[in-house]
């Protein structure tokens, strides 16, 4: 664990906390961006170039913009009067802690099951591409189908209903 890792971890966690705690929704969206950027830099720190750049391209370039658009199009960006915190935050905290515990347990257990083989496998973009269209072609296709269905569904939800004569 180097100094870089701790700096990036602090940045990511600070961004995530700010996203939850800030009152202004747009500020929260921008704080999420900081957390995403921190994650991308963590991937780069682990020598996972493709994952890091894809994280920036998809999450900062598309997801954040989508969030921001949703905020602007659905409501005024002024502060709500009654506050932004949900009344059931304690339950949310418990669920989050439970999920974190399961994930942490899985990660810690995997160290025992799969011991450290090589220091760092050199995975190039070419390898990832070959794996995606070779071994993992079916999951890729399924994800593509799912996304297409979601897109079509979104268009149908957003479409103006034509006035049909009742009969």
């Amino acid at each position: 664990m180097s100094v870089v890792f701790y700096l990036l971890a602090a940045m990511t966690i600070a961004g995530g906390l700010a996203a939850v705690l800030l009152k202004q929704l747009v500020h929260a969206a921008l704080a999420v961006t900081v957390a995403f950027a921190g994650l991308a830099l963590l991937y780069l720190d682990l020598d996972a170039q493709f994952a890091g750049f894809a994280q920036i391209l998809v999450y900062i370039g598309a997801v954040t913009i989508l969030i921001v658009f949703a905020i602007l199009l659905t409501r005024s960006s002024d502060l709500p009067k009654e506050g932004v915190f949900s009344g059931t935050w304690a339950v949310g905290l418990m669920i989050a802690a439970g999920v974190f515990a399961v994930l942490g347990w899985a990660v810690l257990a995997s160290v025992r099951v799969v011991p450290q083989q090589s220091p760092a496998p050199a995975v190039t973009v070419r390898d990832i591409g070959n794996a995606l269209v070779g071994r993992y072609a079916l999951p890729l296709e399924i994800v593509g189908l799912l996304l297409t269905a979601a897109t079509v569904g979104a268009v149908i939800v957003a479409m103006h209903e034509k006035e049909r004569p009742k009969g």
Binding site: Q49, F50, F53, A54, I56, L57, I60, G61, V125
Partner: protein
């Protein structure tokens, strides 16, 4: 050193200069110092090019509009950017009372940083690339996507309806055309089999007779190149896609409420994005730093790169002086109903090209598919528009 011919030395002059300067340091510091020198080169050369381009643009537009353009500062007005820079520096930095201070301040910085990052992977000459990454193309587009955020930050934080409208227009337009930009670049990756920009240039740097193997000289390459050019024009908010900052509609769009040097930063950012996208188009389709004819290889590679970039800039200026601004619905229709389907067809054509092997047949097939699609879809969308003679209600 004495054995290398003079043209090679001239070609590598900046690399040699860097190595000579770094040579004075202990070996441990050399890589870091070399990187710092490369960064210094980028942040000095491209803004200098920006200053030159502003003069060329204003004089060129003046020529196209039958007027002189700037001609007061220095010989032929060539010191105009100096005067403009001093003006921007000594102007007051006005921040609207209701503006969101932090976001308003950070937006231009985000823009400038992300735009400059894009230059890091561009090979501006033989052996002249700051960070030769395995996935350089992806890095470039990731940085391009991050600039959209600064447009939103600037527009939203100003608390001005024109700013917000400009930002919304800008983001909608940038997202739509970014898809096209990426898809037209994907065909290069399909043929070259690499995301590394220096490998893409190397793949094009060979000759049949004296003619180069640039990707633009193939049917799919030409189609991709034209679509890339259209998308690049839209990405950089240049005319005819300058709706986000259309002066006659929404003042200056998302940077209406910026003044002084922050305004200048947005201005610089737009031009730097133009340079980096032109450089990317050059790298992907026009063979990067390779010479257009094999007999011209004695001219240094960096001259070819910057020459091609400046030709792009000239075309940008030319188009700005020629075409009127589009309407928002025309912009969106053009992106989603014409250019995007064409770029998808281009991907299929590229795959055909890849697997049909050498021969004249693949030229005929891919040209036929692309031309047929272009004509049919173009005709169909024109018919729907009902474009005919315009009727004037009062002027007949």
């Amino acid at each position: 050193m004495a054995t290398t011919p003079f043209s090679t030395q001239l070609d590598q002059i900046f690399v040699l200069l860097r190595d000579w300067l770094v040579g004075y340091l202990p070996a441990a510091y050399r890589p870091a110092a070399g990187a710092v020198l490369g960064v210094l080169g980028i942040i000095s050369v491209f803004p200098a090019l920006f200053a030159l381009t502003t003069v060329f643009e204003r004089k060129g537009l003046g020529r196209m509009q039958n007027r002189f353009g700037p001609n007061r500062v220095g010989p032929y007005g060539f010191f105009q950017p100096v005067a403009d820079g001093i003006k921007a520096l000594i102007k007051e930095d006005v921040i609207p009372f209701r503006a969101d201070g932090v976001v308003h301040f950070v937006a231009p910085i985000v823009l400038l940083v992300t735009v400059f990052m894009g230059f890091a992977v561009l090979p501006v000459g033989r052996n002249m690339v700051l960070a030769d990454m395995d996935s350089g193309l992806l890095f470039f587009f990731a940085m391009g996507a991050a600039t959209e955020l600064s447009v939103f930050m600037a527009g939203w934080s100003s608390r001005n309806k024109y700013s917000l409208l400009g930002a919304m227009r800008g983001i909608a337009q940038m997202i739509s055309y970014e898809v096209v930009l990426l898809l037209s670049a994907v065909s290069i990756v399909m043929i070259g089999g690499s995301l590394s920009l220096s490998k893409i240039v190397e793949a094009q740097n060979s000759y049949t007779g004296i003619f180069p193997h640039w990707y633009v000289f193939t049917p799919w390459g030409l189609a991709g190149f034209l679509m890339f050019g259209v998308a690049a024009t839209a990405e950089t908010n240049r005319c005819p896609f300058d709706l986000p900052e259309g002066e006659s509609e929404i003042v200056a769009g998302y940077f209406t409420e910026y003044s002084g040097f922050k305004f200048a930063i947005f201005f610089i950012g737009e031009y730097l994005a133009m340079f980096s996208l032109s450089g990317m188009a050059t790298t992907l389709f026009l063979g990067g730093w390779s010479a257009p004819l094999s007999i011209l290889n004695f001219i240094p590679s960096w001259i070819w790169f910057f020459g091609k970039v400046m030709i792009f800039i000239f075309v940008f200026i030319w188009v700005r002086g020629t075409l009127p601004r589009l309407r928002q619905d025309q912009l969106m229709n053009f992106a989603w109903k014409f250019v995007l389907p064409l770029s998808l067809v281009n991907l299929i054509v590229t795959a055909l090209w890849r697997f049909m092997g050498e021969g004249w047949l693949r030229w005929v097939v891919s040209t036929a598919i692309l031309a047929a699609f272009y004509v049919l879809v173009g005709r169909a969308s024109f018919r729907r528009k009902n474009i005919g003679l315009r009727s004037y209600r009062y002027a007949e």
